[in-house]
């Protein structure tokens, strides 16, 4: 898949996100920031397709920062896991499409919403794959603000102790948590160093650039270490009025915003 194709898909994912944001609102800014990373994971990196969602040899993609779910659902729709028309049932009682992921949606590996859980779950999956001597890969995306939760650091200790080099932790580093800049509240920097001293291999990239993402994900694996990809991104990416704004968290688009933002994304 070419970068042009991935960029086209990313545009469509952003449109799906806007549709969900219009219908009852969503965590718009965070969903926008991880679009390219999601699209890259499903389009290039992870060995997973609509036909292999139950195959034990598939790669696993976990979304731990569950409020980014519009980005996940948009991506799953674009890659044929999920009927795109279902996204119009956002928050409709007849379906299960709400503000956090549900495993009834094909491709969703685990439910999420409470932060700091899925790195543990992903570590368990990685441990089982190692116990069985198999070689599938496990990817788990975390928000940067989510790293405030101590359970992540506990899980990293366990993953490195058990040499989980089949585990890749992807950080959507948009520098903003719910209502604050991460560095103004609980500073995370030097973040890469933190992961390194915890025994991880760390790669950093521009999380909106497919070449940069490829360089980070494809970087040669250091044996025995979990890999961390810090994807530097911007909250609200793709919408000038929402980019890198602390005061844009949960957001409901009105009709005119929806129309103009759809045009902005299309342009």
């Amino acid at each position: 898949m070419t970068n042009e194709q991935l960029e086209l898909i990313s545009r469509n994912v952003r449109k799906h996100i806007l549709t969900m944001s219009k219908s009852g609102g969503c965590f718009l800014g965070a969903a926008m920031s991880c679009v390219e990373t999601m699209v890259y994971l499903y389009g290039k990196q992870a060995n997973i397709s609509p036909e292999t969602t139950q195959d034990p040899n598939r790669d696993y993609v976990f979304l731990s920062n569950g409020h980014d779910v519009p980005s996940l659902y948009g991506t799953l729709a674009e890659f044929g896991f999920l009927e795109a028309s279902r996204l119009e049932k956002h928050l409709d009682i007849s379906d299960v499409i709400f503000w956090h992921p549900h495993t009834d949606i094909p491709g969703v590996e685990f439910r999420a919403g409470s932060l700091g859980h899925l790195l543990s779950v992903a570590t368990g999956v990685a441990l089982d794959i190692k116990m069985r001597g198999e070689d599938n890969q496990v990817y788990v995306m975390l928000g940067d603000g989510e790293l405030n939760e101590g359970s992540n650091w506990e899980a990293i200790l366990v993953a490195q102790a058990h040499n989980c080099d089949n585990l890749t932790i992807v950080i959507d580093r948009n520098n903003i948590q719910a209502n604050m800049r991460t560095e103004d509240l609980i500073p995370l920097e030097p973040l890469a160093d933190k992961f390194r001293v915890f025994g991880c291999q760390v790669e950093e990239c521009d999380g909106h650039n497919f070449d940069s993402l490829a360089t980070a994900f494809e970087a040669e694996r250091e044996s025995g270490k979990p890999k961390v990809v810090i994807a530097h991104t911007a909250r609200g990416k793709g919408l000038q009025d929402h980019t890198d704004r602390v005061d844009r968290w949960f957001y409901t688009l009105n009709e005119s915003e929806y129309t103009s933002f759809m045009q902005e994304v299309e342009a």
Binding site: F110, R111, H117, G124, E154, A155, L157
Partner: protein, 312 residues
């Protein structure tokens, strides 16, 4: 010779590739498992949250993780992981809590699991087994491991002092069918209640002892029979009153309109217990056989009086 918990666990695991034994660095009852089951033993260190989360991940891959930790920590520190990663996902993780209730004797309140059953019962789908001794614990393991539900096992492996009926979840075993005093209990308290009942029998009181075995599912038939047929129903548990068997019995009584019996709790209300050697704790808290006998006898002696006098 009597088998141990880990012997039976390893036997079951040898016959079922899905079983993986895990612990948050508490190996008290599974010391030999790493040697006997080297490729299916994981110690995550002192990390209850990661233990439960990782167990959910293993279960996603088709495993049956049996996770071990101190009851106080594995039920509380990682409660949300049990609720959200095991309960919500409906995964067959088996959570084993060591040293629950009074068994924490000298550890003090930090280690007193007196709310573990209450917490675990709240998780939809989670089943709760409170073995009274080694025999009951081992008898239930095959069912618990092959059952698709998540389970909490309130671990106790003391020597059996009674002969048990075959294990069935949600089915109590009853000793006697008397009508003056019934004692409802489970787990470690069974042996003390059994001795108290023997003393009551010797004193000419008509008794029954109900060992509930699983507190979820709870045997409502056995509970209702006691409520309908006995004048005094004592609910004895080394657990907080609120959220324990007593709460469930009262709820059943109200829901089914079976309210004529006097239902008396013997448990901990709004407080922890004073740490000491176990025998001393039992006596101090009025939960040894002698204290239970005397208390039950006093309930029986006043059973003709108005309920209000007793509850005042």
């Amino acid at each position: 010779m009597t088998q141990t918990y880990e012997q039976v666990l390893v036997e079951l695991a040898k016959n079922d590739e899905r079983i993986v034994v895990m612990t948050a660095e508490n190996r008290a009852a599974i010391r030999n498992v790493p040697a006997l089951l080297p490729n299916r033993f994981i110690d995550t260190g002192i990390t209850e949250q990661t233990l439960i989360g990782a167990a959910a991940g293993l279960a996603l891959r088709g495993r049956i993780p049996v996770v071990h930790g101190l009851a106080a920590f594995i039920s509380m520190r990682s409660f949300e992981f049990a609720r959200t990663d095991v309960g919500l996902a409906d995964l067959p993780v088996k959570i084993v809590g060591y040293v629950p209730g009074l068994l924490s004797d000298g550890n003090g309140p930090t280690h007193q699991a007196l709310e573990d059953n209450a917490l675990m019962k709240q998780i939809p789908g989670m089943q709760v087994f409170t073995p009274a001794d080694n025999a009951e614990l081992l008898a239930a393991l095959p069912h618990i491991m092959s059952d698709g539900n998540p389970w909490y096992i309130r671990y106790y492996d003391g020597e059996a002092t009674v002969q048990h009926e075959a294990f069935e979840p949600g089915i109590a075993e009853e000793f006697g069918d008397g009508t003056d005093v019934a004692i409802l209990t489970s787990g470690y308290m069974l042996q003390h209640c059994y001795k108290a009942i023997e003393k009551l029998d010797a004193a000419g009181v008509s008794t029954r002892l109900v060992n509930l075995r699983t507190v979820k599912p709870l045997d409502e038939v056995a509970v209702c029979s006691a409520l309908l047929e006995c004048r005094n129903v004592l609910v004895v548990e080394d657990h907080f009153r609120r959220g324990g068997i007593y709460t469930d019995v009262c709820e059943i009584a109200m829901r089914r309109g079976v309210t004529q019996a006097r239902v008396v709790p013997v448990s901990f209300h709004e407080r922890w217990f004073r740490p000491a050697k176990l025998e001393q704790v039992l006596a101090h808290e009025g939960m040894d056989a002698n204290s239970l006998f005397e208390f039950a006898l006093s309930c029986h002696a006043t059973s003709a009086q108005e309920k209000e006098e007793v509850f005042s």
